[in-house]
């Protein structure tokens, strides 16, 4: 009886997946708060505002992260089709694109610093760009860890249920960080 309860527990994956969805809500609230803070700050004075052209790198990084969403989608399709090899290939592609995104964002920072737009800045609207991208990069980093974990688990012979579960968890999260970046980029463009 008790062994059965434990078995139930172990495969009780739907509520755990639901946990991920709720976490996404909390994360969304976090970014909503930051962007609302930006609006309140900019509304405070005419001198406040981004007042610079956003680095082109953001455009490239947007392309890269969109691409990574596609590879992520292909990975979860492969997982559903029980094709571990293909799944691993696309997971690696996603991780590679994620790392590329990370590097491009950092290059955007260095571009901004070269042009005299510092984080520690009397115009906090410009500091906000760093906060948005920095906090988003933290999420990207978490997503990469999640993806790496999924990849590592899929190389070991775990049951399909668990494999699919872990692919789905990282896929939900990865698509979410993708969408958040698009939200932030559009938000910045509209306030440029």
């Amino acid at each position: 009886m008790m062994a059965q309860i434990q078995k139930e527990d172990r495969y009780n994956l739907a509520p755990k997946k639901f946990n991920m969805w709720i976490f996404i809500f909390t994360s969304f609230m976090f970014f909503a708060a930051l962007t609302s803070g930006f609006i309140v700050y900019v509304g405070g004075s005419k001198a406040h505002g981004i007042n610079i052209k956003l680095p082109d790198a953001f455009m490239y990084s947007t392309g890269v992260i969109l691409l990574s969403s596609i590879t992520m989608f292909l990975a979860s399709n492969a997982a559903k089709a029980l094709d571990r090899g293909k799944q691993q290939f696309y997971l690696m592609a996603t991780i590679f694109l994620g790392v590329a995104f990370f590097i491009i964002q950092l290059s955007a920072w260095s571009y901004m610093i070269k042009n005299g737009v510092y984080f520690s800045n009397p115009n906090a609207s410009q500091s906000f760009i760093y906060v948005f991208t920095g906090m988003h990069l933290l999420h990207i980093f978490a997503g990469l860890l999640l993806l790496a974990n999924t990849l590592w688990r899929s190389t070991r012979s775990i049951e399909q249920v668990k494999n699919l579960y872990s692919v789905q968890m990282s896929s939900i999260f990865w698509h979410f960080v993708d969408i958040i970046w698009i939200y932030l980029y559009v938000f910045l463009l509209l306030n440029q």
């Binding site: 008790m2 434990q6 609230m29």
Partner: protein, 628 residues
């Protein structure tokens, strides 16, 4: 019922249960993933924190009552924080700050929700454990670390954070602004980050468990109000705590990275020009109160749910207006997100915006009043049993009414100009969310103590505890209204320094003695609590004759809660004193087919077959009557 299968099973379950990991002291009592143990951990940590915060309040109450007197004992106890036996003024501010922080966050958020959500959600909904027991365990340990860090700030050179529990910049953003803005503030922020992480993990788990794992038959409208309240509280926490994180992240950047989100042109000590420009301290207030206001409902809603449950059980009556109770909770949840501006009426807010926030604030009075009237109507002509839990639940309603009434004054943008930051505010929130929430929590402790520890608490000590605390709390907080109306500001160190406020010294002395009395009354609770855990009377399975599922579990705790199958639920949880029933309570696990004599047509909504059977049964009854 299969739920009550014989006890010899239990032993064998235990062995199988821990087939994978042996039951060691460490994984049973310390790093436990069992929701019942985590609930107890939250409760005991919460009680410890409450006693610490209460002692802090007694310290600053002594300062307020005797501002010019030296107490050598204070110096012995507090050392450099009370030089010459008089409380240091900076330390006074630290005491106020940490008292508020611990009470609001550590006791009434984590201690209250953490305890009862962990205990009641799985037990009342028929679940073996939380959605993610591991996250649940992590949530407790993050909370524990947060407590440790918060308390550790008493042991550093400059003392704990002292900018008030709302940590408004610039006091919180400039490490040199005052002694409490330095390392103490840093520790406060670190502790809070652990705390928020803990609350988010806990809240996510609660929501997911409630929405996904209820037992068969337990639809949302059959959930006890306690679970409804805990559910909506968790939703509030999940949506509002991330906003505080955003506010705190920007604050940390201002403190340590030289940004100017909240800071504008500032000169420290009349000579040190600070490099900040153009920031807005009001921005922090917006972000803080967007969490801060839902936070007060995070504090009060579990207390409301617990009181509803306790009052229904002990009035032996169904809760009055179950649907209205749920909808008013939902109303409070939604409205709580659009009223934060009423904390900021005097920040130079656009008067039109102030008007909007005033209206939304006053609208919250509607669901609150619905709840109050429903509680009173539940008591009305009930067959009331004055257990300790019942007394505390009634006390909760009393405080909620008397504290809620002053909220109507404070929510008014024009009146608030006079009342803002006076003792009127202190009186208001200590009654409506402080005392009311702690009474709700105590009601829960007295009511579910038999479920948690398998023993009963002493009723006589409970009565003593209730009356002393109830009278004491009113004696402490009621006079504060008058001080506030006279314009006495909160957080001041010594009123004897001001000619116009000197006259309030006698009132302050009175309040302090009332506070000391209430504090001593808590010893009755502490003794009762600890003594009953070990030597209390053994509890029967269902000591209060209640309907909810938690009382169908065995008294001995087992992992998985029910030894056999999880019981199925057939009815709502409030079938008390139903006319025609054999007993004055019908547990949720009793099918309608076993209670033909007490069934009513509305028990068969959405159940045409049942309704047909019911009318068949009543008509045969009638014809039998005629034969007689």
């Amino acid at each position: 019922m299969s739920t009550l299968t014989v006890h010899d099973h239990v032993v064998s379950h235990h062995e199988e249960d821990h087939g994978h990991h042996k039951a060691t002291f460490l994984n049973t009592y310390v790093f436990s993933m069992d929701h019942k143990m985590i609930a107890k951990q939250f409760l005991i940590t919460g009680i410890a924190m409450a006693f610490i915060a209460m002692m802090l309040s007694i310290l600053f109450r002594i300062q307020l009552a005797y501002p010019d007197k030296a107490f050598p004992l204070m110096e012995t106890l507090l050392g450099r924080f009370a030089p010459g036996g008089r409380l240091d003024s900076n330390f006074y501010l630290a005491l106020v700050t940490i008292h508020g922080t611990i009470m609001v966050f550590f006791v009434l958020t984590a201690g209250l929700s953490g305890t009862f959500a962990n205990l009641l959600i799985p037990l009342q909904l028929g679940v073996r454990d939380m959605a993610s027991p591991f996250m649940n365990m992590l949530s407790y340990w993050f909370f524990f670390i947060a407590c440790g860090i918060m308390l550790s700030s008493f042991f550093i050179q400059k003392g704990p954070a002292s900018g008030g529990w709302t940590i408004y910049p610039p006091l919180s953003a400039l490490p040199k602004a005052m002694p409490g803005s330095g390392l103490g503030m840093t520790l406060w922020l670190i502790s809070m980050i652990f705390f928020i992480a803990s609350q988010l993990m806990a809240g996510i788990n609660y929501v997911s468990t409630i929405l996904n794992m209820r037992t068969k038959g337990m639809d949302l409208w059959k959930m006890p109000l306690s679970v409804w309240a805990l559910f909506l509280t968790a939703v509030l926490g999940v949506l509002s705590f991330p906003v505080l994180v955003a506010g705190v992240v920007l604050l940390v950047f201002d403190r340590s990275f030289g940004t100017s989100f909240y800071l504008s042109e500032i000169v420290l000590n009349s000579s040190q020009v600070q490099p900040f420009e153009g920031g807005s301290p009001i921005l922090f207030q917006h972000l803080f109160w967007f969490l801060g206001h839902p936070e007060v409902y995070i504090v009060i809603m579990p207390a409301m749910g617990i009181s509803s449950e306790v009052m229904s059980v002990n009035s032996r009556k169904p809760i009055f207006g179950y649907h209205a109770m749920v909808y008013s909770l939902i109303g409070i949840t939604v409205l709580s997100f659009i009223v934060w501006g009423h904390h900021m009426f005097v920040t130079g807010m656009n008067p039109f915006l102030g008007g909007v926030f005033m209206i939304t604030t006053l609208i919250i009075a509607v669901p609150s009043a619905v709840k109050t009237f429903n509680w009173l109507a539940t008591l009305w002509r009930g067959n009331i049993r004055f257990t300790s839990a019942m007394l505390f639940a009634i006390g909760m309603v009393s405080f909620f009414i008397s504290g809620g009434l002053t909220g109507i004054f404070l929510g008014n943008a024009a009146l608030d100009i006079n009342l803002h930051d006076t003792y009127f505010v202190v009186a208001h929130f200590h009654l409506v969310m402080g005392s009311a929430a702690i009474f709700g929590m105590l009601a829960g402790v007295y009511h579910w103590f038999p479920k948690m520890f398998g023993r009963m608490m002493n009723e006589r000590l409970g009565y003593l505890h209730f009356w002393l605390t109830f009278i004491g709390a009113y004696l402490v907080f009621f006079p504060m209204h008058f001080m506030g109306l006279d314009g006495v500001p909160r957080r001041y160190y010594a009123f004897t320094e001001f000619e116009s406020m000197k006259q309030w010294l006698s009132v302050n002395t009175f309040i302090t003695w009332a506070a000391i009395m209430s504090a001593l009354a808590q010893l009755a609770f502490l003794f009762n609590f600890v003594h009953s855990i070990f030597w209390g009377k053994k509890a029967p399975q269902n000591p209060w004759n209640a309907n909810t599922l938690e009382w169908t579990t065995p008294v001995e705790h087992i992992h998985g809660n029910w030894p056999g199958e999880i019981p199925t639920v057939y009815r709502w949880p409030y079938d008390y004193s139903k006319p025609g029933a054999e007993h004055d309570f019908i547990p949720q696990t009793t099918p309608l087919s076993e209670t033909m004599s007490s069934n009513l047509p509305h028990d068969f909504e959405d159940n045409p077959i049942g309704l047909e059977e019911h009318s068949k049964w009543t008509s045969t009854q009638k014809s039998n009557e005629e034969v007689k």
